[in-house]
Subunit: 285 residues, 2 copies
């Protein structure tokens, strides 16, 4: 690996673009190749073995394009496939979103009672639960699958009655007024354990209230990538020079396994800037 190579980022679809946005903000002089496995999304309802196999194929494709590090910007794949990816690629720095998310949650919680919401596979995989308890053995973690949030985020229904009612139905049993009397079991921190969920932050905030810390792993993952690249001497050598010439948004390229027009149309919602179809290349895994 050399510092001038790009960083590979992959997700099952477009949700990981929230992580790519944070990576670009944290590392504005780096170049990124983002792969969305849109033909086979969602990973969140698939079995362990299938997620591992798909994650390896996606990672292979990025490594074939010469990346110096791999960011698994998908909670399901991070939760399920990270150990096998690290074993497979040896020296290559591989960063998932679960460990940074757990670190952020532990920095935010006072009581040690943390709720994690994610896809079915992320919750079933238990990686957040393990990552939190390994770091703080007296923490208690409540994990809840909120599968419908994924569909809401993709549909762009991030505000309004449907989003609010969905958030209430999932989260009021944990955070609603009815929980107040019992007291101690109410989490003080909520981890958005799916890259789709940050776009629903406002309605989630309405339901959980102002006192709960809402944590997503995008920013902490970006910081973890920054720290790891620095430690390995892989930060882009000529940051200032590269930054100076970057008048255009050529800091990332996109690969998708299906539906380029849909990727471009929906992806902008997660990345925070428009994506042109011409920027997205269709590949087969």
């Amino acid at each position: 690996m050399v510092a001038s190579q790009p960083i590979g980022v992959f997700d099952s679809g477009v949700g990981g673009l929230t992580v790519l946005g944070a990576l670009h903000a944290e590392l504005p002089h780096e170049r990124f190749i983002y792969l969305g496995d849109t033909a086979r999304l969602p990973y969140g309802t698939k079995s362990h073995d299938t997620v591992v196999r798909y994650a390896q194929q996606a990672a292979d494709a990025l490594i074939g394009r010469g990346v110096k590090a791999l960011v698994v910007a998908c909670n399901t794949a991070s939760s399920v496939a990270l150990p096998s990816l690290r074993e497979r690629y040896g020296e290559l720095p591989v960063v998932g979103v679960v460990e940074p998310g757990a670190t952020a949650a532990l920095a935010a919680t006072r009581s040690g009672c943390i709720a994690v919401i994610g896809t079915e596979a992320t919750v079933r995989g238990g990686a957040y639960q393990r990552a939190i308890v390994q770091r703080r053995p007296d923490a208690s973690v409540i994990a809840l699958a909120c599968q419908l949030f994924v569909a809401l985020a993709e549909e762009g229904w991030t505000r309004g009655e449907v989003a609010r009612a969905t958030a209430q139905r999932y989260l009021e049993p944990l955070f609603g007024p009815a929980q107040e009397p019992s007291g101690s079991a109410r989490p003080d921190t909520l981890v958005l354990g799916c890259t789709h969920f940050p776009v629903l932050r406002a309605v989630i905030r309405e339901v959980v209230g102002e006192q709960v810390s809402i944590v997503d792993s995008a920013a902490t993952t970006a910081r973890a990538v920054h720290a790891l690249l620095r430690a390995r001497g892989l930060l882009h050598a000529n940051e200032a020079a590269l930054g100076a010439q970057s008048g255009e948004p050529a800091w990332s390229r996109f690969l998708a396994t299906d539906g380029v027009p849909r990727f471009a149309a929906i992806g902008g919602r997660f990345l925070g800037r428009d994506i042109d179809r011409q920027e997205v290349e269709l590949i087969d895994l």
Copy 2:
């Protein structure tokens, strides 16, 4: 093909089990092999070429198990891949759900103004629109993608506030009171153009009102299969004898490409009877 062979039914996942239920009611003496391509669902957000390729692989797997007819119990695959499947398999009877759905809609409508709701791919593919207008050239068809209904059906949230608010948001622009003044454009018939949607019929009914005919293609597809098998001499030869011994519900077997426990758990909701894990075989396509 011989009459004693089973009938193959396939769908991208569990939604097609609503069609399997109707087939069993219509043809209680037949045996069925149902394939849910759960590893690669949903088809509804995928491109044309990908849906065609997946549909062929699923059909090949069923034909490899010796079926005498193929029912494409998936609106997206019917809408996109039926011509290529018919070409590929020559003499084998292949029935999709779109043509029966169009026939049912035309039998129900008085005004000729028909709304079709389905996945993004079904709507984009335009097969319902074509099937209806070919049969009645003066019909007008309004097609609307209701992607979130799929997630609601899979989550089992078929009643309550979220389902109602979602139905309102999608359907009130077409059927709501605000449409009344303009008059003529209001459809009098609504086709549930996705096999997931029949489980949401009650909330859809609440929004569209009692005057609108709600049509789903499960029952009409089952009748079309019955008629085609009779015409080809492929109805099970010994109906009465087989019926007499069928004390057990061994009329169907299930294949899934991923997530057998999830298939069994969620599938029962669509089939109308519980599915035991032992009845589901995991296969790779």
